[in-house]
């Protein structure tokens, strides 16, 4: 049984295509460095959320093998149940044979009916995966399908132009040099942040804190009280649902928020940590009173090209 909270996929915006089976069946997935399983809806699932998405049909794949194991993924609004199997997964030009794939048979609740993605492809460490599941990138490494045991992500602010590169670092996506940060716990892509400052004053993460670099989270999430301090420093105000609004007219006078990681400063200007939609501006910082862990999501990754290095268990960051 694998449990994985999916509530934070609410703001996910970056999607890519993969193909499962022979002949290949197409799926749109979130490439998520904050989880480790691969799952997609299956034809055995009649829930609204499944009906509205591409569903994998094992009977139409000559390479599918049933594992006789079940999978359960926990949503904020319910749970997804499914089966585990093996099949060939094609990601761009890489053909990944005998890959464990989760196939949902039930997705209660109507929330994910409206999601643009069909499933999730996890890129975190195998310790986060369900018991019988081998993460896609681990299978690729084991079979020597990637030139180097690392992958990198560039997230564009535009609709097109974002890129996930398996097996290489692409210098055309960043300026200056990459700075490396050791992974502290090999589950998520986790490392130590030294501090968070505004105008040279520590406003959060005083004395250091643990953070994960997560392509499957849109916002920059931190402990509630720390994030509240940041919201105050940037002048964001809380609405009735706990979201923080910003006066769009103030964007040019708002401060830069600086994350110091492994002795190097990573500034986030207002253009990076705010979003503007239909004339409303909101903060890209989000508080979580239930956790001490920070999540550097798309808000951070758009600003910093990110390398996830499994060979040396380190994360590389450079100005995107």
């Amino acid at each position: 049984v694998a449990s994985e909270s999916l509530t934070n996929y609410l703001d996910c915006q970056y999607f890519g295509k993969i193909y499962i089976g022979t002949p290949p069946q197409e799926f749109t997935v979130v490439f998520d460095t904050g989880s480790s399983d691969l799952w997609v809806p299956s034809v055995y699932c009649n829930s609204d959320a499944c009906q509205n998405h591409h569903r994998f049909d094992p009977s139409k794949s000559s390479t599918f093998q049933n594992m006789d194991k079940s999978l359960s993924i926990q949503y904020g609004t319910g749970s997804m149940q499914g089966l585990l199997g093996y099949d060939t997964v094609t990601v761009s030009n890489i053909v990944d044979p005998h890959q464990t794939v989760g196939l949902s048979t039930q997705e209660p609740g109507d929330v994910f009916t409206y999601s643009e993605f069909d499933g999730i492809l996890g890129l975190a460490y195998p310790s986060l995966a369900s018991e019988y599941s081998v993460p896609v990138f681990d299978n690729m490494m084991d079979r020597h399908l990637v030139a180097q045991d690392l992958f990198s992500v560039y997230m564009s602010r535009n609709e097109q132009g974002s890129m996930l590169t398996l097996g290489a670092i692409e210098p055309s996506y960043f300026t200056g040099s990459l700075h490396w940060i050791p992974v502290t716990v090999q589950e998520y892509w986790q490392f130590t942040v030294d501090s968070v400052t505004v105008d040279g004053v520590v406003v959060a993460c005083d004395g250091g804190c643990q953070a994960i670099l997560d392509t499957g989270t849109s916002m920059l999430v931190g402990p509630g009280s720390d994030i509240f301090n940041i919201q105050q420093a940037i002048g964001a105000t809380e609405d009735q649902y706990g979201e923080f609004d910003i006066d769009c007219g103030r964007l040019s006078s708002m401060p830069t928020v600086v994350f110091e990681i492994n002795g190097k400063k990573y500034p986030l200007p207002p253009s990076a940590y705010t979003s503007q939609d239909d004339g409303f501006c909101t903060s890209g910082f989000q508080g979580d009173y239930g956790s001490q862990q920070w999540i550097l999501g798309d808000v951070f990754i758009r600003e910093y090209y990110s390398v996830f290095d499994r060979a040396s268990n380190r994360v590389g960051l450079a100005k995107a």
Binding site: V1, A2, S3, E4, S5, T7, N8, Y9, L10, D11, C12, Q13, Y14, G16, K17, F31, S35, G76, V91, S92, N93, D110, V111, Y114, S115, E116, S127, L128, A129, E131, H144, L145, V146, A147, M155, S156, N158, E159, Q160, S162, M163, L164, T165, L166, G167, I212, G216, M219, V221, Y241, G242, E243, D277, Q286, D288, Y289, G290, S291, Q293, I295
Partner: protein, 43 residues
Amino acid sequence: GISRIPLHKGKSLRKALKEHGLLEDFLKNHRHAVSRKHSSSGV
């Protein structure tokens, strides 16, 4: 050994729920869970 997967920036679930008039209910009912990212996979 090098694979490039173009990602597209699409519509977030938040925006889709808003368009279907479901966002307010979702945030009301799941406010505490929206930001949480934790996996107990393998447990």
